[in-house]
């Protein structure tokens, strides 16, 4: 078994595109779930609307990348308002059901053959990322540190991605220590108490949903540019559930929780994938137990099991504070 390869792959996963995308998605989800206590199970829809908003406006209508980004952001805000307006007055679990349903609607519509002219159907839409790479200031070449090695395009995507992660964390940090953020946290702890103080709980929840959705939207842009294609099945409910696992793993209601969570999550997945594959190739695991195809299934089982065990035994995650979080439905 080639341990140095396993560890360099794990290191690459720690700073890689998936970590960036899921860190951004999870930062948005942390605003919803961690700070406000909203059960948004449709985070994937925000990513999808952003990614497709960008891709379709650039590829089909010839807009510039900047305009595509604005359209993607607008789409996410509209989606948040559409989802929030009817459900935020209801019990917490209604929002959960409506958001997960909405995310599936979004995915099915983008997947639909009838719209394939614009969306590319299940193959997805490409031909939109040239604008993003054409403003790449990084000279052609290979960049890296130790075992990390990226070409100029990857370096550009990751630089932009990590900058966005940094800015998003800063924004969340500043907002959550402001009076506005304290109201959100108070809503999470006791909605009725906040209402009795004369705050418009509904309006605050809606603002939180929009903010988290816009942050999730950045994840949609990054996955679109990083993969140079948007595909509907990259925005399935599993994406949302992975983001939940990341938020809880890192520690809900902690500024850096989602970032730490995303890095650890993808490092763990990379380690299990690589170790299982290598153990298989070295003959330690026979085909009867695990075929190459089944390695991905073991990953799914591990994520599920990890989410369950975390929630049962350490709901505050790595960085969280158990006293701060009273996760409960009302």
């Amino acid at each position: 078994m080639d341990w140095s390869l396993i560890f360099s792959n794990a290191l690459a996963a720690m700073v890689g595109l998936e970590t960036v995308v899921f860190a951004l998605a999870a930062i948005g989800l942390n605003v919803h779930f961690g700070y406000t206590g909203l059960l948004n199970f449709g985070q994937a829809a925000f990513l999808a609307v952003a990614g497709y908003g960008l891709a379709i406006s650039v590829a089909n209508f010839g807009f510039s990348t900047g305009a595509g980004v604005v359209i993607g952001l607008t789409g996410a805000v509209v989606l948040a308002l559409l989802l929030g307006a009817p459900t935020l007055r209801l019990r917490a679990d209604y929002l959960a059901i409506v958001t997960i349903a909405a995310a599936e609607i979004v995915r099915l519509v983008f997947r639909s053959v009838s719209l394939a002219e614009y969306t590319g159907g299940s193959d997805g839409q490409g031909r939109f990322s040239e604008g993003f790479y054409s403003i790449n200031p990084i000279a052609i070449g290979r960049y890296g540190l130790g075992p990390l090695d990226f070409d100029e395009r990857q370096t550009w995507v990751l630089s932009v991605g990590w900058t966005l992660v940094g800015l998003s964390c800063l924004l969340v940090f500043l907002l959550m220590r402001s009076p506005w953020g304290r109201v959100l946290k108070a809503i999470r702890e006791d909605e009725d108490a906040v209402r009795s103080l004369g705050k418009n709980v509904y309006f605050y929840k809606l603002q939180s949903l929009v903010l988290g959705g816009v942050l999730g939207c950045l994840a949609g842009f990054m996955t679109a540019w990083g993969n140079t294609v948007v595909q509907p099945d990259n925005f399935s409910t599993e994406t949302t559930f992975y983001a939940y696992t990341i938020v809880i793993l890192g520690g809900a209601a902690r500024v850096l929780g989602p970032v730490v969570g995303a890095a650890i999550f993808w490092v763990l997945l990379s380690l299990t994938d690589n170790i299982l594959n290598q153990a298989k190739n070295a003959g330690y695991i026979s085909d009867a137990i695990l075929t190459g195809f089944q390695v991905g299934q073991v990953r799914l089982m591990l994520v599920g099991l990890g989410l369950m065990l975390l929630m049962i035994f350490r709901p505050q995650g790595l960085l969280g504070d158990r006293r701060e979080l009273a996760l409960d439905a009302r």
Partner: protein, 420 residues
């Protein structure tokens, strides 16, 4: 395991299908080839032509009595292969939305297979009004199956407050267990299904005993428990995929049945029996809930667990019963669903959101609401294909859920309560 012919049973339309099987290689050079089939029957005498990117014709072939065509190409490159639609038999046409000509690259030495999906001819298509009764019936059957799963989900929610995102995996469990007894152990499907329902019930009770009861004792919050159900669902789906594989497989019995016409609709015997089973079981559930001691106790716990406990009802016993019954009902739903669609590892996951739509539509936590809501969802899903593309029918049902929540948030049979 491989199945050359996929039995399209219980599906919306008896769609004819063109399968392409790799034909025997004739020449060493590049070829485009395929087999034209319509519902498993070869289609003979259809002209296929191949042109280059510039429009020059390089080859033509007519399908033989096995439906096979092979066209040799002069060189690798990009070619357009077209099916002459005029030469198709009257009752067959290219499936709607698919093109009769495909442009594709051919690599050096490649014997490339081409797929022309055929369907029922639009030339004999029925009017919307004629299709309505048939779609409504299919929707009713689908709705009844969803209702079986939804009643369990709703009862679990009512008695414990748990929103169980792993309920779809209970549905899959029933189908997989029946597959295990039926295909792997060779039992006839009816006893296999009975055993599977029994096993699902036992496993449901087991799940409550080892997972949910300790969590309730520990005082884990409902939202935390909800996230646990998501983890459990991911874990179980991975496990099913690991054990069963990603393919869809049919049961050993009752696969190919002819539909018999009853008035304006056609129904296969197995669909009729599935419907009957659903109705009998759902009436049975209603009777138990309304007339028996345990049913009354269940409704009491749903209404107010603390009050129920203080009036001498053993709440934990009621919850255990609800889990056992809910898992059995979900398992049965899975078996009946797989009878129409074949068994797959994500059978339950695919209908989970529709089950949720049914439960929410009827009013969270009300067993009868779940029943009504599921029927609405089932019928709406199928009938909506008159207007919207079939691939979007689930999206349509979910959109209706959101719309109804806007107007009547407590659901059809739910009690209005102020929540903010």
């Amino acid at each position: 395991m491989r199945y050359a012919v996929r039995a399209a049973v219980g599906s919306l339309v008896a769609a004819a299908c063109l399968l392409l099987l790799p034909a025997v290689a004739i020449a060493a050079g590049e070829t485009l080839q395929g087999t034209l089939q319509n519902g498993g029957e070869p289609v003979e005498g259809v002209t296929i032509t191949v042109t280059t990117a510039d429009g020059d014709e390089v080859g033509e072939d007519e399908t033989d009595e096995d439906g096979v065509f092979v066209i040799e190409l002069p060189a690798p490159g990009e070619y357009t292969i077209s099916l002459e639609e005029d030469t198709l038999p009257d009752e067959v046409a290219i499936r709607e939305g698919r093109s009769a000509s495909v442009t594709l690259p051919v690599a050096v030495g490649q014997e490339r297979s081409v797929l022309f999906p055929l369907g029922k001819s639009t030339r004999v298509v029925q009017s919307d009004l004629d299709r309505l009764p048939q779609l409504a019936l299919e929707g009713l059957i689908f709705g009844l199956i969803i209702a079986l799963a939804a009643v369990g989900l709703s009862l679990i929610y009512g008695t414990t407050g748990l929103v169980n995102f792993a309920h779809g995996e209970l549905v899959t469990l029933g189908a997989l267990l029946a597959y295990f007894f039926n295909v792997l152990l060779g039992l006839q499907l009816v006893p296999a299904a009975l055993l599977a329902v029994l096993a699902a019930a036992v496993l449901g009770g087991f799940q409550d005993r080892i997972l949910w009861r300790p969590l309730r004792k520990k005082g884990t919050g409902l939202i935390a428990q909800l996230v646990v159900t998501i983890g459990l669902a991911l874990f179980l789906r991975g496990l099913y995929l690991y054990l069963f594989g990603g393919s869809s497989r049919p049961y050993a019995d009752y696969q190919l049945q002819n539909a018999s016409a009853v008035g304006p609709v056609a129904i296969t015997p197995k669909d009729a029996i599935a419907m009957l089973i659903c109705v009998v079981i759902l009436l049975g559930v209603a009777y138990v809930l309304l007339r028996t001691r345990i049913g009354k106790a269940t409704r009491a716990v749903s209404d107010n667990p603390a009050l129920a406990a203080s009036s001498g009802i053993d709440v934990e016993r009621v919850i255990a019963t609800v889990w056992i019954a809910g898992a059995a009902l979900a398992g049965l739903a899975g078996i009946l669903l797989a009878l129409g669609q074949q068994v797959s590892f994500q059978l339950g996951f695919q209908i989970l959101l529709l089950v949720f739509a049914g439960v929410t539509l009827g009013g969270l936590g009300t067993a009868f609401g779940a029943l009504v809501g599921s029927l609405v969802v089932g019928v709406f899903t199928q009938v909506s294909t008159l207007v919207i593309p079939p691939e979007l029918k689930n999206a349509g049902a979910l959109a209706i859920l959101i719309l109804i929540l806007l107007v009547r948030p407590q659901g059809i049979l739910g009690r209005a309560e102020r929540v903010g």
